[in-house]
Amino acid sequence: MAEKILMKGNEALAEGAVRAGCRFFAGYPITPQNEVPEYMSWRMPEVGGSFIQAESEVAAINMLYGASATGIRTMTSSSSPGISLKQEGISYCAGADLPIFFANVVRGGPGLGNIAAGQGDYFQSTRGGGHGDYYTIVMAPNCVEEMGNFPRRCYELAEKYRVPAMILADAILGQMMEPVEFDFELVDPKTLKAPDWALGIAAGRERRIVRSYDLREGKLELLNLERMERYRKIQEKETLHENRQTDDAKLVVAAYGTSSRIAAGAVKMARDKGMKVGLFRPITLWPFPAKALAAIAEHVKNFLVVEMSMGQFVEDVRLSVCGTARVDLYARPAGVPSADEVFTEIEKVYQGIR
């Protein structure tokens, strides 16, 4: 097994993408993800890839649109306001079935907000902040090691289903250091099969077109229906989640990303006091592990959602348990709770359970 390295989350993210075969990065500086382009600016040339500091986030996503149309593994990253600017481009990538990979290291919003951590971009990420019907695969790491290991999975899923995939992190995951062990072999892009839709040298084959439109009456809907079917398959097959001590729980805390690690601390405090509390943590936010959650809801009738936002993630929890359990919300819009604070909320809710 590889050695553990102490790394910043943003660096692990960048290095993870490189190890997974990324050979094109375009980005634009924005706190708290600056380490990603900074890292790529020397790492890409080192592995024979391209790094471009784009003139804007809009340009960056469009550079990706072009680069990934040539069939290579690409990456861009940004933080909240910059991701908003990329929405049109992401929608185009989804519409053109391009498997781009990007990361949002979320900060507090809306607007300029702040540069600390937040989870206010959940809706935007899981429900296509851009226009039109599309989804993006969303993975939510909760430690630096996952920041490094998730890019590979993103690429594989993105390419398998020809949809964009993203990592939804936040300022804490981006800025903190933790030990990292990369759990996969280095990917040599030369060993990857060139996709049969990739643009480039056309010798000996039909020309190819990459586009996201069909102006003929009724035709666009057919494309969308086909894509809907792919989405259905992804929802069926590609969810990931983590259950902790949910079997005997009377209350299950639901949280993702940074909140989930803080919540884990609070759950431990609760267990130490003999309270039957568990933790449900979705690792893929889209597809949402709705079935796994529904399964818990068969025997657990109380949930406490912890999110660093006003109440976005809670909607997916509610949709999953579908009225069969009580769902409470501890919302911290652009605030980072401490484990103590979460524990206090757990106590409050727990006391109310008969």
Partner: protein
């Protein structure tokens, strides 16, 4: 007897959806002829804009990509850097290149991306039905300046070649017109050079083609061609604004 103007094999053999007399068709043919002549069809990737020429992705017989409005230069950059062995061109209208895409245009030129841009200046938004473009002339009527473009409300037309000529990275800039047959021939020469430059790794090359939009100008195609010669050319003088030899 021999057919002296065979249809270029780099153009898909089907009727084009452009309006009667529209300059897009002329420039499409020229680009296709050049791809044939330089024998680069099989390694060319074209970027179609949002604009009437969105359909370019159907007409050019090479790999094509169509992306967001105005972002052609960024898309072309992504392709070229990923596949330097390809010849990459971006085909754009004046709304696309000089309005919403201004930043991408300037920056791809400043970076001296080794790409070729064909810029169709028809002084109007064709596809959306005749709104003002950054290149609409003062006094010219459009659906969003129905009393004619005025300095006070809309400001001055943007002269793209002149502006980009200030950038060191812009290696070849020429403005031509397709309002007359000789103009078409000159345009072809210019576009050919813009492609040859890319083959020679010279850097950013752009040809601005003064073209017509008879439909939205409310003119016949013949009147449109005259409008180009009489009204547009004085404001947008033809010629070479930067050349790699410089």
């Amino acid at each position: 007897m021999k057919l002296i103007n065979k249809k270029p094999s780099s153009l898909v053999d089907k009727p084009m959806r452009y309006c009667p007399g529209c300059g897009h068709g002329i420039v499409h043919r020229l680009i296709a002829e050049i791809m044939d002549e330089l024998d680069i069809r099989e390694r060319t990737v074209g970027v179609a804009p949002v604009g009437c020429a969105v359909f370019a992705d159907e007409y050019f017989n090479c790999d094509m990509i169509q992306g967001p409005h105005g972002r052609g230069p960024a898309i072309a950059t992504g392709i070229k850097r990923s596949k330097p062995e390809c010849i990459v061109f971006s085909y754009q209208g004046d709304g696309d290149l000089a309005s919403i895409g201004m930043a991408e245009t300037v920056h791809s030129a400043a970076r001296s991306e080794n790409i070729t841009i064909i810029f169709i200046n028809n002084a109007i938004y064709g596809m959306t039905g005749g709104q003002m473009a950054p290149t609409t002339l003062l006094g010219q009527i459009s659906s969003t300046c129905p009393a004619g473009r005025s300095v006070a409300v809309n400001g001055y037309p943007i002269k793209v070649c002149e502006m980009l000529a200030q950038l060191q990275g812009a290696r070849y800039l020429e403005r031509t017109s397709v309002s007359t047959a000789p103009g078409v021939i000159k345009t072809k020469k210019a576009i050919k050079k813009a492609f040859q430059n890319q083959i020679d790794c010279v850097g950013f090359s752009m040809v601005e083609v003064l073209s017509t939009c008879p439909t939205n100008w409310g003119m016949t195609p013949v009147q449109g061609a005259r409008f180009v010669d009489e009204k547009m050319t004085p404001i947008y003088p033809l010629g070479v604004y930067r050349s790699p030899e410089q």
